[in-house]
Symmetry: C2
Subunit: 426 residues, 2 copies
């Protein structure tokens, strides 16, 4: 069984210049990996046709079986992908009238809704119906169709740039005959993800070295470790024949890092906390994190089942007025203190009629730190209505954004530990 | 004066597989563009040495004067960048003892603080002191030094992967003699950014076509238009000789899109709102946006000067208890209604002792919509203590995350319009 290799070409000056982040390259890469396709490169180029052509030449030269492009299918003159791909595979562009009519129907709707001149919009978009001879058009989700171009034993899949158009079009791209044929040659990769919190990456590297010395055949599986938003993510991928080794790796890592491991199956802290909160009623009290914990909790659909609400008590008056914190306590201990954090959490329990609450008060910087309470000093209090509580006051490293985000993350982990009744490893 | 062209190679399987987003490519690209260096490609490769080598060969083959790599300098065995670059330029790796001592000093600190075995950590990191013969080491910010490698008329700059190590190391990379020589040949690009809200991209494309027909020499400047987090960003870059044309473009776009243009100089809505809030006291009341507006307002340092606080009133009880919304009003009009939005904003003014407030209540989905109030229906109320108010209740397109983020964005724009006394164009 041969390996199927793919390259991804992301086009767009706005991505190349860093003004918008590329969401397509990583997304396509993940989808291909699940199908067992080995992605070798993601190449970002601007709207210069020479650079896109060089990218295609490079991918072909490196022997890629599949090249997926995103972007450059829009209505403006600098959207040149279809043209460059056609010239690269030595085919002419022709107007696909069926596609043209589909685009026109979509645009009539837009023009009516937004009251823009329909003819101007239609003209700007007519070029979107031009596809290379011998290729397969994929129905537009926005106004740009995708294109599947079989060429000299390889396949070029041309997709639009906006993720909300590209992602819904993906299944159609996979079903196109030339792509289907290619995918039949790929061996699906299996994989799992472990997540840990509160441990440095170097400790995992050390464990892996020791596990290999102890006889686990690590080179048979692909292990990547990365620090992602404050947590360690360990990703293990393997083909059928290495299943046993992959299971040994999971067991060995779990045994070595029991205290820091919170997810054996890739489940995120957000999903875990959402499950643990079922049947509870949560109240939040945030200062330095400014609503980030509330935003994270309410990010998941169904949060209204357990989220009563939160107070962003940025001022002392808000701590006093909305959470009932005694002004004398703030005066005596400071707004950033374990005592005020406890009072905030108690206030959140009371004011929201909650049975579980988390409070966060800290110094996000860049100013406001002192020797005793430096920038990054954050006090947490997580508690149940029955009095069970966890209090922490770490100094979180990094800049203002890091401190704020990490505070929300610590809040999530305290919720998990509190609700699952685990011993607290933080 | 010749053009200086650069390529960026981002290494790391975790970036290639999409598990972490690449922040280095875009960041380096922006920095190089400011210096007048033309970035042609950003290429992401995994930890396979063959793929990194292919990337370097491609960049050299495309005639890049400067190649910047990020990542692969870590302590683990899959961190191979220094080795691959050395072999690519045909130099051996040697131990730089000065660098080794610097790393050792840093690691002694870590090992003490975190109580990990210092020898294990040091051994894992010794390889980080190996650099190609004839190259210049850049002092480590974390534990990995950067490396500047002059090679056959081009320069390869090797930087660590973590942005918090890479970014502080950048000035040292620019000061290294071979890079300095290269940059002297580049002509700095000027540029400005316009921002608009509430208008589709196709209208801008139409304006540009008409401006060109009217005689503005658009091909002399580089214009990129992109939809970024719900706003249109128009970026114009030009060299000295095209200054007049660039100014004409700015004037013409401003005249055509006065109602939707809010920034002529790239200033973000966040910074504008922060300035407008000076001397005010802000209270927020959020339901469907779940704290995202509060998080956005408090993202900027100094927010405590004007941010009194916010209530995330996710439950009806929170709307009633913490914001004083009449339960009968919720019963009669629904929690998502212009009337409840108004009551929430009035509640935020009162409870926080604020002189300006914004409320958001809507249906973020995926469930909970009805025919009259579909998913995406969001009610806003922005008001001053003197009674001046703006109310809106649009249906926001997209999924749950889009609706929540866009709600916070609309909240920002309502604040801007309210505080600047502009006519409301939303």
């Amino acid at each position: 069984m041969t390996e199927v290799r793919a390259g991804i070409v992301v086009t767009g000056t706005e991505v190349l210049t860093g003004r918008i982040a590329d969401r397509n390259g990583p997304w396509i890469s993940e989808r291909l990996a699940e199908l067992g396709v080995e992605v070798a490169h993601i190449l970002v180029v601007g709207d210069r046709p020479e650079d896109l052509e060089a990218a295609l030449r490079f991918m072909a030269g490196e022997g890629m079986d599949l090249i997926v492009t995103s972007g450059g299918l829009g209505p403006t003159a600098d959207d040149l992908t279809a043209e460059v791909v056609a010239s690269f595979v030595g085919r002419e562009l022709i107007l696909d009238e069926e596609v043209e009519e589909k685009i026109a129907a979509i645009l009539r709707g837009f023009a009516r809704r937004f009251n823009f001149d329909p003819e101007a919009v239609r003209e700007a978009n007519r070029k979107q119906a031009m596809i290379p001879v011998g290729s397969i058009a994929l129905d537009p989700v926005g106004t740009a169709p995708g294109i599947v171009v079989p060429a000299d034993g390889r396949v070029v899949v041309v997709l639009p740039g906006p993720p909300r158009e590209l992602q819904p079009m993906w299944p159609a791209a996979l079903s196109a005959e030339p792509v289907r044929e290619l995918l039949e040659r790929a061996t699906p990769l299996h994989g799992y993800t472990l997540r840990m919190f509160g441990i440095p990456e170097s400790e995992i590297a050390k464990s892996l070295r020791e596990m290999e010395s102890a006889g686990i055949a690590l080179p048979e599986v692909e292990i990547t470790t990365c620090l992602r938003r404050g947590e360690i993510e360990i990703d293990v991928r393997y083909r059928d024949e290495a299943s046993d080794i992959a299971e040994d790796v999971r067991t060995a890592l779990a045994a070595r890092h029991e205290r820091h491991l919170f997810s054996l199956d890739g489940e995120t802290i957000d999903t875990q906390v959402a499950s643990l909160l079922e049947g509870h009623r949560l109240g939040l009290a945030e200062s330095c994190s400014g609503g980030l914990l509330a935003a994270r909790i309410t990010d998941l659909p169904g949060a209204s089942d357990y989220m009563a609400g939160g107070v962003v008590s940025y001022s002392n008056e808000a701590k006093t007025g909305l959470l009932g914190v005694d002004p004398a306590l703030i005066e005596a201990k400071g707004a950033v203190s374990p005592e005020v954090a406890e009072a905030m959490a108690l206030g959140a329990l009371g004011r929201f009629g909650a049975d579980v609450a988390v409070s966060i008060t800290g110094i996000a910087g860049p100013d406001g730190g002192s020797e005793r309470k430096p920038v990054g000093y954050v006090c947490f209090n997580a508690r149940l209505a029955d009095g069970t509580a966890i209090a922490r006051d770490p100094v979180i490293p990094g800049g203002r954004a890091d401190i704020r985000e990490r505070s929300a993350l610590v809040g999530m982990h305290l919720l998990r530990i509190l609700l699952s009744g685990e011993e607290a490893p933080l």
